[in-house]
Structures are given as C-alpha cells and as structure tokens.
C-alpha cells in the first residue's frame, strides 16, 4: 500500500472524527468571525494592506486554535477510546498514520476558517490586496503543513504528561503573542521575545504579509521549513518514546 494512501486514509478518517463533533464549527466559524470583527472594529475598519494583515493573522490564529484543540489531543482521545493500541500495533507506520490524522484534524477547521474570513470580508465590503497570490497560497500551505507537524509533536508530548489539557490551554494565547499575531513582536519584553523565533507561525505570518505586499520574504519561508522539520523530528522522537514506554513498562493504558 502506497505511503500516500495510508496518509490520505488516516487524514480522511480524522476528518470524519472531527466532523462528528460540533467543536469544529466553533473553531472554523465562531472563533474567526469573533476575532475578525473585534480586530476590524478596534482598528476602525482598515482597508488594503492593513486589512490583509489582519485577515492573515485571523487565519493563522484560528488555525493555531484548531491545532491545539483538535490536533494536539489526538493521542489522548485515542487512549480514552481504547484505540491507541490498534494504531501502534498496525502494519502501517504509526508515525505516518499519526501525521495523516494530525493533518485531518486541522484541515476541516482551516478550510472553514478561510471560507468564514472570505465571507465576512465580503459582507463588510472590505477588499484585501494580495499582490503575489501564488506565493501567498504557498505560504498558507506551508503554514498548514507546519501546523500538522506541530500537532504531531504536541499530541505526543501531551500523552507523556498528565497535564495535557492544561498545557493546551496555557499554550494558546502565548503563541498568539509570540508569533506576533495579536501585537507586533517588538512590543514584547526582550526577555521573552526570543521565544518567538521558535514559533513557525511568526515566520508564516511575516511571509504571508510580505507576499500580499508583492515582495515575498523567502527567508521567513525558509525558517518556516526549518522549524517544521524540527517539529517533525521532535514529534517522531516523542512518539518513539511513547512506543518504548508502552511496550517496555506497560504503563500507558492501551485497548
């Protein structure tokens, strides 16, 4: 069976799981709508480049919310359903299956978020300008892949600690701030500003805004790629640690 078939089947499976719970409507419609309205009216109905920057930030914030609430909880939910064992003893690579699920967990809210943002902007009669749409699209795809890798890392880390749900809540807004999605990163205290370097969304945001302005910042795109690779390496290592703990100590509950 081809690698892509395993990946796509896992992603479609997770999309079906996500679709079965109304949380994806909150993440894909209510959250971006609220964020967009607040930011637009707080800045007195911006237009042009400023509107594009805000729409981009809302897309990324909503996507990060979906990553934390859907992607990062995959393995904990698998453990709670008693299906984790089957995923880990399958003939297919458990990491590949998990990566597919991680993409599936966030793809539906991401598509819904994009539709919500586009519809809201149309209703507000607020035009956005994207000077390099091809680069902008590439940036969005990179952000989604980076979020998938982040989901892979977080869901493995959250299974290794009993404080997964608390960590998920604690990570949400700090990442918004560190990535510069709510306020410019320069506004952060120097003591924590450097942490933003490790958040790929920060560089994705910079690249998307630059692409929208017509001068794509390829350095930022490169950093998104490097950080994504780092998340993948970390995620695979954490997942292997889980596999080792389960098989050697028998101390994680399995089906």
């Amino acid at each position: 069976m081809a690698v892509t078939e395993v990946f796509v089947t896992s992603a479609r499976h997770q999309m079906a799981v996500v679709r079965a719970h109304p949380l994806f409507l909150v993440l894909g419609i209510l959250q971006p709508l609220a964020l967009l309205l607040v930011m637009f009216f707080a800045r007195n109905r911006p237009i042009g480049a400023q509107a594009t920057a805000i729409a981009t930030a809302v897309l990324l914030m909503s996507y990060w919310g979906a990553t934390v609430w859907q992607g990062a909880g995959i393995l904990r939910r698998e453990r709670s359903n008693g299906t984790l064992g089957a995923s880990m003893r399958g003939v297919r690579s458990p990491v590949l299956v998990l990566a597919g699920k991680s993409l599936g967990a966030t793809l539906l809210p991401a598509l819904l978020t994009a539709a919500t943002v586009a519809t809201t902007l149309a209703l507000l009669r607020t035009p956005v300008t994207i000077a390099a749409p091809g680069w902008y699209l590439l940036g969005l795809v990179s952000a989604i892949l980076s979020g998938t890798a982040m989901g892979l890392l977080l869901c493995s880390l959250f299974l290794l600690t009993r404080f997964g749900p608390q960590l998920a809540s604690a990570l949400l807004y700090p990442v918004f701030l560190l990535a510069g999605l709510l306020i410019p990163p320069d506004f952060l205290p120097p003591a924590v500003r450097w942490l933003g370097w490790f958040v790929s969304l920060r560089w994705a945001q910079q690249f998307l805004v630059s692409a929208a302005g017509g001068a794509p910042d390829l350095g930022s795109l490169g950093l998104v790629g490097i950080l994504t690779c780092g998340y993948i390496i970390g995620g695979v290592a954490a997942f292997r640690r889980i596999d080792h703990l389960v098989r050697s100590r028998g101390n994680l509950e399995l089906g």
Binding site: V6, N81, V91, V246
Partner: protein, 321 residues
Amino acid sequence: MTSPAVEVESLSRWFRAGKQRVEALSRVSFQIEPGSIVALLGANGAGKTTMAKILATLLLPSAGSARIFGHDVVREAAACRRLASVVFGGERGLYPQLSGRDNLRFFGMLAGVNRREGRHRVPILLEQVGLSGAADRRVETYSKGMKQRLHIAIGFLPRPQLLLLDEPTVGLDPLEAERLRGAIDQARQEGVSVLLTSHYLLDVERLADRVLLLDRGSIREDLHLTDFIRRAGYAAVVTVRGSGCMPRLDDPPPGISLANEPTGSGSGWEVTLRVQEWSPDVFAQLATLFATSQVTDVQVREVRLEEAFAQAASQHSGSRG
C-alpha cells in the same frame, strides 16, 4: 520444516509496583501448531492478558522469547503483526462517533488491507457478523453484542494466519455466540491457528484442541482437551431420584463415589454419584446399589470442562498452600 504458529520459550514478564516487582509471567513455555486451537485458561490475574499482549507485540517480554511463525515478537514485530490479528473485544477499542463500516475500513487499513480489497471484504464481513443493516450507524448506538461482533469482523478482515482471541463471545446472545464458534471453527479448517482466552468454558469445550492452564504466571497444565477433562477424576455424573426409603450408600463399590450428600424429604430423595470410568460392570453395580429403592428418574451426563478446571485449580491452590 514448518515453524510452529506460536513458540514461547522461558518467557517472563514482570512489572514494577512501587519498590516491589510483580511477576505476571514466569518462565512460560509452550507451542501452538499451525491450524490448531489452543485455549489459555486461568483465573483473573493469572497472566492471560499479559501473554496475549506480548504475542500481539503490544508489550515487551522481560526475559525469554516468543515467536510467531518463526518471527521474534521483539526484533521482527512488523512481520508478526502481518501474520497475527488480535481481538481484545469489549466496549472500547472502536471509534464511537464513526459508523461500523468506517471503523472496519480504518482498522483494515491499519492491518494492511488495501482499498480495493477492503471494498470487497468489508461488506462480506459485515454480513457474516450480522451488521449489514447497522453498518452505517454510529458505533455509539450499538449494543454490547454488536460492538463485540464488530471487533470480531476487524480481527478477521486481514485474513490472519494466527488469531489471538480474548473472551470472543462476551456480550453475544447464545445464537450469535454459536455463530461465532462456527466462524472460528471454519477458520481453523482453513489453516488458521487460534489462541483463545476465555472464561466461557463452553467456547473452550466446543473449539479447543488443547488446554493450557495458567496459574499465577506459570503454566500448570498443558494437555489435550480430552486429557484435561479427565483430570476431573471421573467420566460422568449420575443423578438418581426416587421415593420411599433413602438408599444405603455408606460403602459404594470401587469406581463409584458420592458427589455430595444425598438430599431428601419424606416424599422423595436425590443422590448424585460420580462414575470414574464407564464399563459394563458399572451398570450392574448401580443396579445393585438401588435394588431395594423405588427409583423414579435417572439422569446421566458427561463430566464438564468446568469440573476439570475447578479440580485443577483447587489442586494447584492446594499445592501452594
């Protein structure tokens, strides 16, 4: 030469509980020949599930080795997973928010069934386990028995050469349980080997060729089913009912013993005897015993597996004490 379906050698598994070491399995050795059904019996905590998890490559052994068709469960886990299917059953282990069909497709993919084969096999298996009508309903709406049937369909989907079945008939009604026994027997005839752990001794009695008795992590008995049943110490139980005076049974003949104290009231009595081995003499001896009594009813049944199991369990707990 064909490798055994399962080959376990001096296998041990221990867990840490605080500062204590708890031994779940201790130097267990056995083999399962291809195409045979072996039942693993034992009380709760005997180590049956630990054994099943090691063979399913979900747990590493602490010492010793286990091989499936010659493949080591530690070093060649992927090869073992291709050959063996495991059915732990129960209410969990499924995606409750998805339909039975979607569950079957996904678990099939995990087990290596490609999309084309899945499209062909999934409807057949749903039909075989009687879930065709509910295939597109969410699993959270299924009864316990329906979930169990779905687990079994998942186990059969990849056409395994070895089936590890843990309590396969739990939650099934008698008709469904019988249908499942038929399916397992059919799989055996097609060459599939089965390791069956069950508290339902009827499953074992109907299906198993051999019985392994696990007690506190060690194999205490490894016998063919008929030999194991013989461990009860008798071949049959005879229940005699009558009226009038209670027969005198102070000194029964050799080969016949009282199963329990005779019961009776003014109007009738009941005596239960154990017959060690059938022979023409036994009938004559029984006739002599009740020659002066008014017998109204006689019932004879073969010894049951549960009686052999109880006898073996009490013998081993006695030897420990």
